[in-house]
């Protein structure tokens, strides 16, 4: 009895151990199988994702060159949205946006001295500041600046109380991301027109480019524009008080201009719509006395004017009312008078500028002189900003054409942006993934 019971218990114990081993084996194998399945699924997913991302990227790249082609066919100030385009029947598509005008919502706000004016470069797209982002542009509130760590800029009228050294408050328009650089020898073009394919625009069709209409921005005596130019900060930072910017050295006698040398020249060029003749309006240059001296009333941008603009912190050096001089006849008149059709200028009888409108007028800026500060340091570049309030309400043409292409494939998106300066054919690329 006892032996029988003992044998049965032994047999049951063996069965139990076997079952336990079998369950453990099945458990281990199940775990390993699940891990392997997971690895297989992950590998397949990664391969598919890699392909999807490449499809999205090359779709964006294809969209970008389509946008650049479309932009090339029209020119400065052309804005358009191209419908999403499918590629070769595949899954990828790209949507393209061409932005040639300053965006409609990019006006300066009521806190700014330049309330209701558009700025070119468009706020947040200038190249004086680092990491500029048009989505975080300063265009409404005043701001404060600190060099002591990030964030360097804070919006508001009250000084932040965090122990750091803050400078301000500055006008939103003074933010470095709202200004562009111009260096010695460079010429920057600010088109005073925009291009459109809208047949109802009421603008003339450009003779050699059928289907492309060119609209002048200046259409009324009420139009206003301001060119602001300032020197960079003497300490090398991107932002500072006006008093900490370079001042020009006005102690050296120049044989032609005296103590006040011209620094930046400007021109408005265009074509006469009636005769297609090239028209050029330059700055008024008044040199007088012995030894000769460049007088302050000259509208070429000179050292006295730049020092004064720095001193009062406005940085304003040219407006639509500034006197321009025809290169041929030397006739004088306000810039705006030359831009408007059928408007008399100071010497209407002898003017090269006919009564018909100028077509494709462009304001060109160039630095014509090496620049030295009152502390005998070389000034590397100037910063400029063009503000406008055209009576038509039309946003001005931006300083560069921006072509943005977004490629999609499944859940993947690749964005490529190219900026083409109105002044040169060079492209600046930004790739967002």
């Amino acid at each position: 009895m006892v032996n029988f019971r003992g044998t049965k218990r032994k047999h049951n114990t063996k069965k139990g151990v076997s079952l336990l081993i079998a369950i453990m084996l099945i458990g281990v194998i199940s775990y390993v199988s699940l891990s392997m399945t997971n690895a297989v699924v992950e590998a397949t997913r990664q391969a598919a994702n890699s392909n999807r991302y490449n499809e999205a990227y090359y779709a964006a790249e294809g969209g970008l060159v389509l946008g650049l082609l479309e932009n090339s066919k029209h020119g400065a100030g052309y804005s358009a949205t191209l419908p999403p385009k499918n590629y070769g029947g595949g899954a990828a598509a790209a949507a393209v946006k061409i932005q040639g005008q300053v965006p409609v919502d990019a006006k300066y706000g009521s806190m700014s001295t330049y309330f209701n004016m558009y700025g070119a470069p468009a706020p947040g797209t200038g190249n004086v500041g680092k990491d500029c982002d048009p989505l975080k542009a300063f265009k409404n509130m005043n701001f404060w600046y600190t060099a002591d760590g990030t964030p360097h800029y804070v919006e508001g009228t009250s000084q932040p109380q965090d122990g750091k050294t803050w400078f301000g408050p500055f006008d939103a328009a003074d933010h470095p991301c709202n200004w562009n650089k111009i260096k010695i020898g460079e010429t920057m073009s600010i088109p005073l027109y925009y291009s459109t394919t809208d047949v109802n625009s009421g603008c003339p069709e450009y003779p050699s480019n059928s289907g492309n209409y060119v609209c002048n921005l200046a259409t009324s005596q009420q139009d206003a524009f301001i060119l602001r130019v300032r020197t960079p900060c003497g300490n090398g930072e991107e932002m500072c008080l006006a008093m900490d910017r370079y001042d020009f050295d006005i102690s050296n006698q120049d044989p032609t201009y005296g103590l006040n040398k011209p620094i930046m020249s400007w021109q408005i060029t265009g074509a006469d719509m009636g005769t297609n003749a090239t028209l050029v309006l330059g700055p008024y240059i008044y040199i007088y006395g012995t030894p000769p001296s460049l007088k302050s009333q000259s509208t070429i941008i000179h050292e006295y004017k730049l020092n004064a603009a720095n001193g009062n912190g406005t940085f304003e050096v040219l407006t639509e009312a500034a006197q321009g001089e025809e290169t041929g006849t030397k006739c004088l008149g306000p810039m705006l008078a030359y831009l408007l059709p059928n408007t008399a200028n100071a010497c209407a009888d002898g003017s090269d500028w006919s009564s018909t409108a100028i077509i494709k007028p462009v304001l060109k800026l160039s630095i014509i002189q090496s620049m030295t500060s009152d502390l005998q340091k070389k000034i590397p570049y100037l910063e400029y900003q063009f503000l406008s309030d055209f009576a038509s309400g039309t946003p001005p043409t931006d300083t560069s054409q921006t072509i943005t292409s977004e490629g999609f494939s499944g859940e993947f998106k690749a964005t490529i942006e190219a900026r083409k300066s109105q002044s040169s054919g060079l492209l600046e690329y930004v790739v967002q993934q």
Binding site: L25, A39, A43, S50, A59, S72, P207, N209
Partner: protein, 188 residues
């Protein structure tokens, strides 16, 4: 009897594990092959973009007409123009010199058949173009074709097609994009 259960379970388990190792190894190889195929296709597009850019310098006297001249030809003419159709893309023995060989209107499907391998040998991607070790790729041959379709004189669709064979059949990666001659447009 109880140990028999353990043995049977062990045999089944090891069989499953062995199959699993093969499957995982296959998946890893497939992943490597896919990566190689995608990069090979991307290289095809980059090559066409490079050909276009170099043509702008080579034929600067008439970049509007010559922007899509075959890279191995030194004369810009209608005969030497890259036409619509399928091309094999190679590096020539000269360093950094691309060569596009017109293969007519042969569709990519021809690569499904082993017998077509010889006939389509010109599609075979040069070993030098693939940076991943051949052993890791399972000694697989990759075929790349460039399909060119003109939309206008200034705009073409290019599709880089890469195919390779696996145990489950022919795998294909298609990478389409556009090329345009945007630098040579006169807007008046």
């Amino acid at each position: 009897m109880p140990w028999r259960i353990v043995c049977i379970t062990a045999i089944i388990s090891f069989s499953i594990a062995t199959i699993g190792i093969f499957v995982v190894n296959g998946a890893a190889t497939f992943q490597l092959q896919s990566a190689a195929a995608i990069n090979t296709a991307a290289e095809g597009i980059d090559a066409l973009q490079s050909i276009k850019n170099v043509n702008r310098i080579r034929f600067r006297e008439d970049p509007k007409k010559c922007w899509l001249t075959l890279p191995q030809e030194n004369v810009c003419s209608a005969e030497n123009e890259i036409k619509s159709g399928y091309y094999a893309l190679h590096k020539t023995t000269n360093i950094n010199q691309w060569e596009l060989v017109y293969t007519g209107s042969a569709p990519e499907k021809a690569l499904d058949l082993d017998t077509e391998k010889e006939a389509n040998g010109s599609y075979l991607v040069d070993a030098g173009s693939i940076t991943i070790a051949a052993a890791a790729l399972g000694s697989t041959d990759f075929y790349r074709m460039i399909k060119i379709e003109y939309i206008t004189d200034e705009q073409v669709t290019i599709t880089s097609i890469v195919q390779w064979k696996t145990f489950s059949g022919v795998q294909t990666v298609n990478l389409p994009t556009f090329l345009t001659n945007y630098l040579n447009i006169d807007n008046g």
